[in-house]
């Protein structure tokens, strides 16, 4: 007897193939599309946005082809509260959140999983590119599409009810399989960017929520070198769009080094000043095997990987990199790996 599995179906190719694979494996699968927007757009425009009416139809069509029941769950309120408002609040506090990660943590593997378990399901399956074998999370064989980073925040308990059927396949193989299975989403473009900011203008979105207030851009000595319309429009490591009138004395490009929301100040400096080797983190989650062998840490989605050592300090974690990293932003997750296997994660608080 197979498991009763709830397959979260976004309307994209990955989740459609994931659902098809578990259904084929003999599990009792029900497809669910999560409606995350209170006012869905009717059509996708390019690779941005999600939960349009078209996406929900694509998901339904895929479920019909696979031959599984399909429902739509309204998660708009939870998504608004736990993802969008959290996103805005994090920026307001001078941090750089990752909303996809928060969505996995609070929506897909919390609100949805809880409801699914209460309704008698055993597990939630998604189309994430990551391997999950006996509750142990590791990278997808497709290094370019690997999403273990945005799943690295899940607890052991959450992972014990998750199924990621795609970790052993490349994206190209998934698309090919979708076409072979007659799933019409086979050639649908990949989604990028933040789903709830349909036009991709994160700064404009934040300005709309947080208002704009002019503040200084200062260099490391504290000298004012320009002005901005709201510190929340900036992220650590950002180089473009600073619009600084006076060039740096050495003529080199300048980067955002830090954001101070209370004084509404953005500090800029040379790339060298962005380099950090010691990262302090909070909220550690240990969800994998204990650390052994060569340890690495990933500091943002699709970001570089650094060899590291770490130690638990108080309730947090200090990670020492073996070479400098740049653009390490508070609010992002540090996901720790032993080889390709996730051993845990924590939220970046500061770096030096």
């Amino acid at each position: 007897m197979g498991l009763r599995v709830l397959a979260a179906m976004s309307g994209g190719v990955d989740s459609a193939v994931a659902a098809a694979r578990i259904a084929e494996a003999g599990h009792d699968v029900t497809g669910v599309h999560l409606a995350l927007s209170a006012n869905p757009q009717s059509h996708r425009t390019g690779a941005r946005g999600c939960c349009t009416i078209e996406d929900s139809r694509d998901a339904r069509r895929a479920a019909d082809v696979i031959g599984i029941p399909f429902y739509i769950w309204d998660m708009a309120e939870r998504f608004q509260r736990d993802v969008i408002e959290d996103f805005v609040a994090e920026y307001a506090a001078g941090r750089t959140p990752n909303p996809c990660l928060r969505c996995n943590e609070k929506i897909k593997f919390s609100a949805v999983l809880d409801r699914a378990l209460a309704l008698g399901f055993d597990a939630v399956a998604t189309g994430h590119h990551a391997k999950l074998v006996d509750g142990v999370l590791s990278r997808s064989v497709d290094q370019g599409k690997d999403q273990s980073y945005v799943l690295g925040v899940l607890t052991r308990e959450q992972l014990s009810h998750a199924i990621f059927p795609l970790g052993g396949s490349t994206k190209a193989e998934v698309r090919e399989e979708a076409a072979r299975r007659g799933l019409t989403v086979a050639d649908k473009p990949d989604s990028h960017d933040i789903c709830f900011i349909a036009d991709g203008d994160t700064r404009g979105f934040l300005a709309g929520r947080l208002g704009s207030a002019e503040g200084p851009i200062v260099d490391q000595s504290g000298a004012v070198v320009g002005s901005h319309q709201g510190a929340h429009g900036y992220t650590v490591g950002q180089r473009k769009g600073l619009r600084i009138d006076r060039p740096a004395p050495d003529g080199r490009p300048r980067y955002v080094l830090s954001i101070e929301p209370v004084s509404n100040t953005v500090t800029v400096g040379p790339r060298s000043a962005l380099q950090v080797t010691s990262i302090t983190c909070g909220r550690p989650v240990w969800n994998g095997p204990s650390a052994s062998g060569d340890l690495t840490v990933q500091l943002r989605a699709h970001g570089e990987v650094y060899a590291c050592r770490f130690e638990e300090v108080g309730g947090g974690l200090r990670v020492e990199l073996d070479r400098p990293a740049t653009g390490v932003a508070a609010g992002q997750a540090a996901v720790l790996y032993s080889g390709d296997t996730v051993i845990g994660s924590a939220t970046i608080v500061s770096a030096a």
Partner: protein, 406 residues
């Protein structure tokens, strides 16, 4: 589809022919259309010339509401019940949004019924400015039957045309266009075992709504479009059969439905039955609930007096409940997985379940409206279906409650 309708329709699918053409095949198709028109008129107490074929209920509602509004300009007021189907509500709201209409929703009582006094008071606020009135014959969600013939008479006191959407009523209740006194009546095929995409607006002689779609003017110059002769033949066969069998079917469904209600109440004691709790006005037994109050006496709203003689207060095949603490869509999913099919209210275009406007109009709060399910019985329903439901319902409710709290 009913076998009679399938046979009538497939027979015609073998023949070409446009009923508007003058040649022999055209004449043949026209004969099929006109005989169908006569059969439908005969079954529904109308004259053949009062039958305007449409593509179904939605088109008929649009033609009646928009068309009568436009034909009665410069009058601006459209009075429509708060519990209408979207096929009637949305055209009215569109008229308000873009055609200068003033739409007023006629409020309903706790059972979902429009009282004649409510309509009278609404009209009398400014009778000369009322373009039309629309109140459905029976509600599709909670099954409540409206006193349409009294409401029509109230509208007629002021010379105002009255439309009713009778999509749910035909085949379940006795429906006579002429006896009801309404000026326009929407009906459709697929609710009575006919084909989808075929329906009609019964339109009293002398009433000329402005067309919604323009073209050849095939139907009394108010509706254009080549007639679908095979579908119309199927529609006529379905209407004829449904009306002929209505009384026997209603009797059978009422008894099954009352059993369903009683057993659901036994299985889930805190369940709330929505809509008119009763039964036939002709002194029939009604839903007398074991150990519960006899709702016939206690809760009879005045509006009941307006029902047509012999009409029950509720559609025979309808049972609609609120399950406190449950979300309707969770319950629906659990029951569906056990082979029991039922429905929640309507969904928005993205498929997200919305709290029913009907239940909200009846005074339910949003949580109760979300926790509601409709069970519809039809000519294929049997006691085994009820046994199956009762077998799986208590566990499903318990589980949905747990999920609702998580």
């Amino acid at each position: 589809m009913l076998p009679e309708a399938i046979e009538a329709m497939t027979e015609q699918l073998r023949h070409a022919g446009n009923a508007s053409s003058l040649h022999a095949t055209g004449r043949r198709a026209r004969r099929v259309v006109e005989e169908s028109r006569e059969a439908i008129a005969d079954a529904l107490g109308a004259r053949p010339s009062e039958v305007v074929f449409t593509s179904g209920g939605t088109e008929a509602d649009n033609l009646a509401i928009k068309g009568l509004y436009w034909s009665r300009r410069p009058r601006r007021r459209v009075l429509i019940s708060a519990v209408e189907h979207h096929a009637a509500l949305d055209p009215a709201h569109w008229l308000a949004g873009s055609q200068g209409a003033e739409v007023e929703l006629l409020q309903v009582d706790a059972h979902g019924r429009v009282h004649p006094d409510t309509l009278r008071a609404a009209i009398e606020r400014d009778p000369d400015d009322v373009a039309m009135v629309s109140v459905m014959w029976a509600n599709n969600e909670v099954g409540t039957v409206q006193p349409v013939h009294v409401l029509a008479a109230v509208a007629h006191d002021h010379g105002i045309p009255f439309h009713t959407d009778a999509v749910q009523a035909i085949g379940q209740l006795p429906v006579s266009f002429s006896a009801s006194g309404v000026d326009a009546l929407t009906m459709t095929g697929h609710k009575i075992g006919g084909p989808m995409g075929a329906g009609a607006l019964l339109l009293a002689k002398g009433l000329t709504p402005v067309s919604v779609q323009h073209g050849g003017g095939q139907e009394r110059d108010v509706r254009s479009g080549t007639l679908d002769a095979p579908a119309i033949a199927g529609l006529a066969a379905a209407v004829t059969t449904a009306v002929k069998e209505q009384e026997a079917l209603s009797r059978r469904l009422t008894s099954l439905r009352d059993e369903l209600i009683r057993r659901v109440r036994d299985a889930v004691p805190d369940v709330v039955l929505n809509g008119d709790p009763d039964v036939a006005l002709d002194g029939g037994p009604g839903v007398v609930l074991d150990g519960g109050p006899d709702l016939r006496e206690a809760d009879l709203p005045d509006g009941r007096q307006g029902l047509a003689p012999g009409s029950p207060g509720r559609l025979p095949g309808n049972a609609h409940f609120s399950f406190p603490g449950c979300e309707g869509d969770a319950l629906l999913m659990l029951l569906d997985a056990k082979g029991v099919e039922c429905s929640t209210g309507s969904a928005c275009s993205a498929g997200v379940a919305q709290p029913s406007h009907v239940l909200l109009a009846m005074g339910a709060d949003a949580a109760a409206a979300r926790g509601s399910l409709r069970f519809t019985l039809g000519h294929t329903s049997t006691r085994d279906d009820i046994d199956r439901l009762i077998e799986v319902l208590p566990a499903a409710v318990e589980r949905a409650r747990r999920a609702g709290l998580s």
